[in-house]
Amino acid sequence: MRAWHFSENAYPYLPPADEYESIRVSLPNRIYDPEKGAALYDRFLDEWLIAEDEGMEIMLNEHHQTATCVDPAAPLVLAALARLSKKARLLILGNPISNRRQPVRVAEEMAMVDVLSRGRLEAGFVRGVPYEVLPANSNPVRMNERQWEALDLIVKAWTSHDGPFSHEGRFFHYRAVNIWPRPYQLPHPPIWISTTSPSGAARVGARGYIQATFLTGFDGTRAIYDAYRRGWREAGRGNDVPVDRLAYSALVYAAPNEADARAGAEKLLWYVTSNKVPPHFANPPGYVPVQANVAMLRGAEHPLSAFRRAATVEGAIEAGIMFAGTPDQVHRQMKRLYDHVGGFGHLLIMGQAGFLEHDETVLGIKTFAREVYPRARAEFPDTAISGVG
């Protein structure tokens, strides 16, 4: 198993939540102090490098117009990390290609980072969460179709080396694609795709890309991995799906004693509890299928929304979205989820959120890296085959 330190670059210095409508999209940026923001960027970059020193890999992501993640141009931070880090794999998860108008530009950015880092890029692609469509003015209808056309075009741009090719698709049009530089890795950097529902996972499995899923807990994750394994097998990729094709992201905090672990875990909950977003931003038309919207109009609620209203450390651990405690406890919690979902090869560690201070974040990183990670690597080898039962 590989562990990745993931930090959202959050800006937590906000007025009380009842004084604003939404932490995303419409929160005025006068609240953001660039002086404090600069210190936070320094700090978060330092924490990634500490994670690298401790033997972990590096992961970052991208969101827009939000205090939860002040990283609206993740390839810029990725480029900085490519020069600052030395050995860690660099995962961006990911490029919101349903919302980027120029897929070839994304291919160029990723190729550049791959060369800068001498082949350490892991290139992730996401459809983007619903609140991203307004900042991008991106149509929420047919996002999946745009994502797949963009991805295929990016892969072709990475792997075509004999001069320009043309692309006249449904959503994107180019007459002469011929990127410089080309990627460092051959045939191209590893590709990751994230999802929180099974519907897209079968298609990801059919391609053999790495499937990541965020905070989907026991049954949600298992359904997504099952769909991935089904897609993999139906595409004729063989019966065995290696665990290194599957990734899970959880809130993770390990500390030598329970009191410190508890305090850190409480602070990590900010990631879930701070996400105040009204329905008109959280559910634009077309983002979820018609039947899912009908169910919501009949009163159904997204599991994560229900959790947010009464978020507790115990509840988060129970739901499988948090691993927190002493090293033994964290290992047990991980193993419980690992066994339930049929195994995964990558743990994407949401290791910083809100007011979790630098020293606390570093304690979590070091405790995990030194006390949990070696056992996880021994017990959950990269060569394992995924599957339940």
């Binding site: 209808v141 009204p278 038309p285």
Partner: protein, 261 residues
């Protein structure tokens, strides 16, 4: 109610036809076409009422190549050919007004007289202000006030709808986003084509319409060579629903004033 599915240019179109007399095309708004609403029989009294559900609305299919109002206008030109209607009156509401305006620029001689009720489709105001409030970024409670003169009376309760009706209403909204997301609620080309609309045109507006302002409507009407404006009292963005009698009387009054000999 007489509804059937017809295949038009690759779209399975849900088509309502009722009544006899001079043909009248009704082009519905974002809420979709509901034949049970009272204004429908008022419009079909003495008229052959033709009311398709737009692609992606009601039970009409939505081929993946369709993503603009322009596409729908062409589908309806094909529908008129199929029905062998050479010329007719057209009433369009809200986004249906936009479709009707596009249609009239493409085939001016097909439209005898035109009523546009709370139409969108053009950009008339400054670059840094939306002409139409952003319905996709407005809380539901505010939307009710923008849409209706009397929100209490008009409020939709999902509990009173069947699953199919609810699914249709969700899908209607999805298709609306597909068509009107960007450029928001308009086609930048349309204003430069409206000079072609030769039909006498009535712009209608509910006096309490919070989406289409009087200023917007006046600027829109000025783009057509032969347009005038009327207002329906005690109605919002959907006067045909909130004040069906006044809506039908005003629209038909305008259309009948130029009665075919």
């Amino acid at each position: 109610m007489p509804r059937e599915m017809v295949a038009i240019a690759g779209v399975e179109l849900e088509l309502f036809e009722d009544g006899a007399g001079p043909p009248l095309l009704f082009v519905h708004g974002a809420q979709g076409f509901v034949p049970e609403q009272p204004y429908v029989r008022m419009l079909s009294a003495g008229r052959r009422l033709i009311a398709p559900s737009h692609p992606g609305f009601g039970r009409s299919s939505l081929p993946d190549w369709i993503d603009t109002v322009d596409d729908i206008a062409y589908i309806y030109l094909e529908l008129l050919d199929r029905l062998d209607v050479r010329q007719l009156d057209v009433v369009g509401c809200s986004i249906g007004g936009w479709i009707a305006a596009e249609l009239a620029t493409k085939a001016p001689s097909a439209v005898r007289r035109l009523v546009l009720s709370g139409p969108v489709g053009v950009k008339t105001g400054p670059i840094d202000r939306l002409d139409i409030p952003d319905i996709f970024a407005t809380p539901q409670s505010d939307m009710e006030r923008l849409l209706f003169h009397d929100p209490e009376r008009m409020r939709m309760d999902p509990a009173n709808l069947t699953d199919e009706q609810l699914a249709i209403s969700v899908r209607n909204r999805e298709t609306l986003a597909l068509l009107a997301w960007e450029p928001y609620m308009h086609n930048p080309k349309l204003r430069h084509r409206l000079h072609r609309v030769s039909a006498p045109t009535l712009f209608l507006r509910g006096a309490s319409d919070g989406l289409v302002s009087a200023e917007y409507l006046a600027a829109y009407a000025r783009l057509l060579p032969n347009a005038r404006i009327d207002t329906i009292a005690a109605a919002g963005h959907a006067p045909q629903v909130e004040q069906p009698e006044a809506f039908a009387r005003t629209a038909l009054g305008f259309l009948d004033a130029g009665a075919m000999s």
